[in-house]
Symmetry: C2
Subunit: 384 residues, 2 copies
């Protein structure tokens, strides 16, 4: 898959309340990505989004956004895979670019969560789960993740203060990212003393609601090299699923979808976890950040938090993670998060990450999760 | 694009009230398609659907359906493009199969419209339009199509009784299709005397609400020939968009999206309208059926209804249209309709259409429309 590159990115600052419409959010990110890439014509556009129908009573985002961009004509697609919508849209865009039918492909993601009440958005997020068999029980998404956190802590004898290192890392990194939702340094104590949301998860264990949009432009590598001095190669793009619901799983503390998607991605890229210089992880909840370190192959089960304790996951460590703040602090505008991750990796690997730059990063991996690990998209990018 | 084939299809009967869940509807169609194809493993799955978030508070259909099929693991995608969701999902599936990343791809579509009130479904359908600029005016989708119908009749001096031939044709054909929603012969007088919905459109000018699901299996032609004696070649798969809303268009009675998508499809297939033996058209409203005949290149503007008057569009005519009943009479379960069309063409081109069979049909075309012609998917299939 070495003939495809990301050649431009655009990101809106994630905001708790942007005051912008879905269209305004998306169009600005898309225009920025197109301008950054230097292309004039787009051949296709993929829009990742989860909840626009439920929250804004707006579907048909493909045509809506193409039209708002003044680029009607091209084929467009809304791709939905719960919180992995952005990562999965990227994968669909990669397939289009590899099909021979589309050359220059824009992949974007957008979500607007601010113009609805918290109960409504909470209900919206539960659309990732089986409505008839799980959502109707009244359990929320944070509730499901709390069950995982409790099981993880018991099974591996890991304490909350160890897991809480993850949001602390993210908030630290986000201080240098002007596009981040939160610019607020926090400590492990802050996490442990924040209000309880669903035991054992507390407020600072959880990503917040936000409005955001991100976009990037894909091009064949030969075209890319004409357009930019710093194309970033897409080495692998994979999506894997698991049984949808926790009650269907044998094991709560491993996401088989992550293992499958990462395993396939490493195989396709002819790389191993040791080759990765920077990682963007789907830390919707702190425990998911720790589990991802393990499921992606960077640590044994139960020992993910040790890497944080040893300082390995800082930007100057061996395995920098969530270098722009991750879902927790850059923000988690659901359908856009997977695209933010890849845009951020692109900046890292083209030496354009400014204050967030990881020195000498040449290979990066992103992981985007939908539902309770039910869908996982993994991308591996490389400085050519 | 001659190395790809449809090798199996499955269709639920469209029903005004199926009593089945989204999952039950989809799973049965998908299982039927897989059984029909003879494949054991699927490499990817694309699910077309428009309104599950709004109507059932259910998203993440990719993982949900893979899990319900006992086929978790593979990559899955929900694709949304309003009423063209099924046709656009097919196009995304074709791109996946051509990308070299997936070999055996299931494409399905599903919509359940029965467990909500008519006003709620009407609001759901308006999600295809710009919520902030058009939907908030209170106009409905049938209202927008009524404006087109009025303009069409005035501009080309075509009378309602001529347009009304389209639903009459569809209802006639559906009598022989056991999967059709309606088995009721109607006359032009029945259309003209049915209740007024939005002037000039009357009840029998409009497709109805229904529950349904359809699915098909794609495979590379060399694999296909091992699995079945009657693979049907996918000669072309295109999607084109137009400005989203009518107020942005210069011309109301031409769908540029149809022209673009059809033009590209004919070019890729190295075929012309004269080569087409059977057509499945997106006749959500009678006037759209007539306009499609013209925009797809089968008649000059304003003269589409003449083909019907001359009997050319019957199954024994020169250009058989909507041979299983079309959206009007087979039914229009929104996100599934585009997949039904391609499944029906597959049956025609593999000589398995039974009482609906068009004698000696060897090339077929389908047109799936999202919004007011804002997104159009066109497929050309051929008996190899």
């Amino acid at each position: 898959m070495s003939n495809l590159a990301v050649i431009g990115v655009g990101m809106a600052q994630v905001k708790s309340s942007s005051g912008k419409s879905l269209t305004e959010l998306f169009v600005q990110a898309a225009k920025d990505a197109v301008e950054d890439s230097g292309v004039s014509k787009l051949d296709a556009m993929y829009v990742g989004n989860m909840m626009s129908g439920f929250l804004q009573n707006q579907e048909h985002l493909g045509s809506l956004m193409a039209s708002a961009l003044g680029r009607e004509g091209m084929p467009t697609y809304k791709v939905e895979a719960a919180c992995a919508s952005g990562g999965v849209a990227m994968n669909a865009g990669v397939k289009a670019a590899l099909s021979g039918l589309d050359k220059i492909v824009l992949v974007g993601g957008v979500e607007k969560m601010s113009d609805n009440s918290t109960p409504k958005v909470t209900a919206g997020l539960m659309m990732a789960e089986d409505k008839l068999k799980v959502a109707t029980t009244g359990v929320t998404f944070v509730g499901l993740n709390a069950m995982i956190a409790r099981e993880y802590m018991l099974k591996y004898n890991v304490h909350h203060e160890e897991i809480a290192q993850f949001p602390v890392l993210c908030h630290g990194n986000a201080l240098d990212n002007p596009k981040a939702q939160f610019h607020k340094k926090i400590s492990v104590d802050d996490v442990l003393q924040s209000s309880l949301v669903a035991d054992p998860l507390r407020l600072f264990d959880c990503s917040a609601m936000g409005d955001g949009a991100a976009a990037l432009v894909l091009a064949p590598m030969d075209e890319a090299k004409k357009l930019t001095d710093s194309p970033v190669e897409v080495c692998a793009s994979t999506v894997a699923t698991d049984a949808l619901s926790l009650y269907q799983r044998k094991e709560l503390t491993v996401f088989e979808g992550s293992r499958r998607a990462a395993g396939e991605a490493f195989a396709r890229a002819h790389l191993t976890p040791k080759d990765i210089d920077v990682v963007e992880i789907h830390d919707a909840f702190s425990v998911l950040g720790i589990m991802a370190i393990e499921d992606l192959g960077f640590a044994d089960k139960g020992s993910g938090s040790e890497l944080l304790r040893e300082g390995q996951c800082s930007r100057d460590g061996k395995l920098p993670i969530n270098t722009f703040g991750g879902l927790k602090a850059r923000g988690h505008p659901v359908g856009a998060s997977g695209v933010y991750q890849i845009a951020e990796l692109t900046l890292q690997l083209s030496n354009r990450a400014e204050k967030c730059q990881v020195p000498n990063a040449s290979v990066g991996l992103s992981q985007s999760v939908g539902g309770i690990g039910s869908t996982v998209a993994v991308h591996i990018l490389r400085r050519p």
